[in-house]
């Protein structure tokens, strides 16, 4: 099966800035693919290259079997896009903009449009200048979701939506998947990615750090375990793959690498287990693992302090 989207060794520079530095991304048809990374990692640039709005410096991009730069119009017939920063014409009404964007995308399903307008609680008679950020976002979302495009490219579509609207959005995405559509969704709302994505690609500084199903990613990473044992849980520190051990009387909690989970659990059961809880790492934890070094980096915080001093 050919990939819906495939990027290999993508490089894009803006002057001296290397926005993408050998990025890889593969989205297979029918999946909801999460595209995750911190601000400035290159998510939006990647999406704009996938749409043929920016030209790659080197590397390969295939969109629905074609080249997005040379074949933009033909390929765009089969996809719908929601930009990250939704700027609308202030003097047009929401309803007018929905129709304009929908028709210029290649047509939209009127019944679905009306249904989505209702579900997202959007007043189509209001001028766009009167919309809040969330409502502007909804206009772009409804225009995309009301299409019959086989591929949805969504750049942080829920930033600015309230939790209720987020739930409706997630529901729409699951419906889209059930209809066999493909979705590429960038986000830093990790709970959302965990809830609706089949596979995830994590990028950082223009490079792909990891890609795979959430299960695969978790396998590579640590599980958090809390246990209560009859006999004191000594010797855990000697076991390979155990990290951040904390013990309090007969209770212990620690993280264990996915590969060593089996050995650790055997060891614990030998000590007489009275209770055991384990939970897989959340994407937050995955994230912190990958970017944690940066968060704790003393230089970074120093810089920030300097900036603050300057503005004062």
């Amino acid at each position: 099966m050919t990939a819906a989207i495939s990027c290999k060794d993508l490089v894009k520079t803006f002057g001296a800035t290397r926005a993408l530095d050998g990025l890889n991304l593969e989205v297979v048809p029918g999946e909801v693919h999460g595209f995750v990374g911190p601000n400035g990692a290159g998510k939006t640039v990647t999406m704009r290259i996938i749409l043929g709005l920016l030209r790659r410096d080197s590397g390969e991009v295939t969109l629905l079997g074609g080249d997005p730069w040379t074949d933009a119009v033909r390929l765009h017939r089969r996809l719908a896009y929601v930009p990250g920063d939704t700027n609308l014409w202030p003097n047009l009404t929401g309803g007018e903009i929905l129709d304009v964007l929908g028709e210029l995308r290649g047509g939209l399903d009127a019944a679905r449009r009306d249904d989505l307008t209702r579900r997202f609680d959007l007043d189509p008679r209001k001028k766009a200048r009167a919309y809040s950020k969330g409502n502007r976002q909804k206009v772009a979302l409804v225009a995309a979701l009301a299409s019959d495009a086989e591929l949805l490219v969504l750049d942080e579509p829920t930033s600015g939506l309230d939790p209720l609207m987020e739930a409706i959005f997630q529901d729409c995405i699951l419906t889209a998947r059930a209809e066999g559509r493909t979705v590429l969704l960038s986000s830093h709302i990790l709970a959302e990615v965990e809830k609706i994505c089949d596979r995830v690609t994590i990028i950082r500084r223009g490079r792909t750090v990891q890609t795979g199903t959430l299960t695969e990613l978790r396998h590579l990473t640590r599980t958090t375990i809390s246990a209560q044992t009859l006999r004191p849980a000594d010797g855990l520190t000697e076991l390979p793959g155990v990290h951040d051990l904390q013990s309090d009387g007969d209770r212990v909690s620690f993280d264990v690498d996915g590969d060593h989970l089996d050995g650790v659990v055997r060891h614990l059961s030998g000590l007489g287990l009275r209770s055991l809880t384990s939970h897989p790492p959340t994407l937050e934890e995955l994230f912190l693992r990958h970017y944690g070094d940066e968060l704790g980096n003393g230089d970074d915080t120093e810089d920030r302090r300097d900036d603050g001093a300057l503005t004062r």
């Binding site: 030209r55 930009p83 309803g95």
Partner: protein, 531 residues
């Protein structure tokens, strides 16, 4: 007063943000006014010239409507000529400066949601509006001071000079107050600009009718109050007090109104609009038309009215020039043919420059739409870059023809009505339309800058400035002919004073087409600009 907390800091902030903008407004308005003031004594060197000027202006309703009532014309002096030539223009320029800047720092700021950021800090409720009023009031005073000093330095009589400069400043202050109130009532920056400008236009029209009919109606217009100071003719200073009191009252009224509404909303709730877009609007050309419709209508009406005005005064030009050797020389150099036709040829050049301003702003809509990210969702759809650009450029090109037709018809209709000769209409319409190829060259330059240097696309205005400079000053400072040739308007046959020549029009159109093609090819090959 806690509602004004932080006003000093905000004043410094506005001065910092607008240091270039304010300087340009101040220098442009005082510069143009003083340039006229400096030129008048050489055009009207003696009492006889001044008297013939006064005789002409005092008796022509069209000239009275567009200059003023001519206070003191029974005792002609050169100061009265200065008032007639500069006062109304100065008042309108300062009023527009006030309206634009007040809107920029009040309603437009709220619309951009930056005001929230400011108001959430230790800033009183009225501080932003008070700071804006203070800075803009200050700018009006500075222009007045520069003009007053300049007039006196140019040997105009002192009290008259002070009165003339003060009349412009007080009208500017008054319209700052008008804009401050309107900004509270409407709910968008565009509506504030539109409604405030409409008030200005109404004030202008009321005093135009009042001055012509000489029936006291002008006392209903604040512009009438400013002019009624009778500069250089036994000044009545109290009329400026009317302006000052009204300005202060309006600003206080704006403060009061602002306590009756929420940040970001107006006093008048917005009307609901159409829930669906008509089919024509969902195509690139239709959308471009919808987005540019307001500007197109505005430019068409403005050019039509200007044409009408020029047509209505054309016959008097002949008499005016007969009485004045300096002006006769100017027109003679500008072209052969009859004096009236030479006048029309000059006017067509000026209207063509205005048409050029429309064409450039319309073509640069592409750059704006791209920069703010509104091109992105369209180009991510099934619209090619070429079709998207072609939509806006079609409006720019067709709009150029529409606006210049309005100008030509305006001139033609008013001149035909005066001379009772309907044949003037097609003749003058044709003369207006021959400038279109030169305007298209400016449009082509705008497209080329958009394609090649998207972040600096506004540089295209430089081409218009160059053409305007050559048009206005080329003759005056005796620029060598070859340097004047850079202006496309220099190549347009000066209809109706000259005969029609097709070759230059074909060449200009070809250059325009090549520039458009270059711009579009570059746009197609480059990255879409993000933010």
């Amino acid at each position: 007063m806690t509602t004004l907390t932080g006003v000093g800091r905000l004043i410094r902030f506005i001065l910092r943000r607008d240091r270039v903008r304010l300087t340009v407004w101040i220098i442009a308005i005082s510069g143009v006014t003083l340039a006229s003031a400096g030129g008048l004594p050489s055009i009207y060197p003696d009492q006889a010239a001044v008297e013939s000027y006064v005789a002409l202006f005092g008796n022509n309703p069209a000239l009275v409507a567009f200059a003023g009532p001519g206070y003191g014309f029974e005792n002609p002096n050169i100061g009265l000529v200065l008032v007639n030539e500069t006062q109304l223009n100065g008042i309108i320029a300062l009023a527009l400066m006030s309206i634009f800047l007040v809107n920029r720092h009040t309603r437009a700021e709220e619309e951009s949601e930056r005001a929230e950021l400011v108001r959430s800090n230790v800033v009183g409720r009225h501080a932003p509006a008070a700071a804006a009023s203070a800075v803009i009031g200050g700018a009006n005073v500075v222009v007045g001071a520069i003009c007053a000093v300049g007039f006196v330095a140019l040997d105009y009589q002192t009290s008259g000079s002070l009165a003339l400069a003060a009349s412009m400043t007080s009208a500017g202050l008054l319209f700052a107050g008008v804009a401050a109130v309107v900004a509270q009532i409407t709910n968008s920056g565009r509506a504030t600009l539109g409604l405030s400008s409409a008030v200005l236009a109404l004030a202008f029209a009321i005093r135009a009718v009042g001055d012509v009919a000489d029936n006291g109606l002008s006392w209903l217009s604040p512009i009438g109050w400013a002019q009624a100071v009778r500069a250089y003719a036994d000044e009545r200073w109290w009329t400026l007090g009317l302006c000052a009191v009204a300005a202060a009252g309006l600003v206080m009224g704006a403060f009061w109104l602002s306590t009756r509404r929420d940040l970001g909303s107006g006093l008048v709730p917005p009307r609901p609009g159409r829930p669906r877009a008509p089919a024509w609007m969902t195509r690139p050309l239709g959308l471009a038309f919808r987005l540019q419709r307001g500007a197109l209508i505005g430019w068409t009406v403005a050019l039509g009215l200007m044409g009408f005005l020029y047509g209505s005064i054309a016959q008097d030009i002949e008499q005016m020039v007969e009485d004045n050797q300096v002006m006769a020389d100017v027109f003679e150099r500008l072209g052969g043919g009859g004096l009236t036709d030479s006048f029309f040829a000059v006017v067509m050049g000026q209207l063509g420059l205005m048409g050029g301003a429309f064409a450039i702003s319309s073509a640069l809509r592409l750059a704006t739409e791209e920069a703010v990210g509104r091109a992105e969702p369209i180009l991510a759809g099934t619209t090619s870059r070429w079709r998207w650009a072609a939509g806006h450029l079609a409006i720019a090109a067709l709009g150029t023809i529409v606006t210049m037709s309005a100008a030509g018809l305006g001139i033609g209709i008013s001149y035909a009505a005066i001379t009772n000769d309907a044949g003037q209409i097609p003749r003058l319409l044709g003369a207006a339309l021959v400038t279109v190829p030169a305007i298209l060259v400016l449009l082509g330059i705008a497209v080329a800058t958009f394609g090649l240097f998207p972040s600096g696309a506004r540089a295209a205005w430089g081409a218009l400035a160059l053409a305007a400079g050559v048009g206005f000053f080329g003759e005056l400072v005796k620029l060598p002919v070859w340097t004047r040739q850079i202006s496309p308007f220099e190549h347009v046959p000066a209809l109706p004073a000259e005969d029609l020549a097709l070759l230059p029009l074909v060449v200009l159109t070809t250059i325009a087409a090549a520039a458009v093609a270059l711009g579009l090819a570059s746009f197609r090959a480059r990255d879409l600009r993000a933010d």
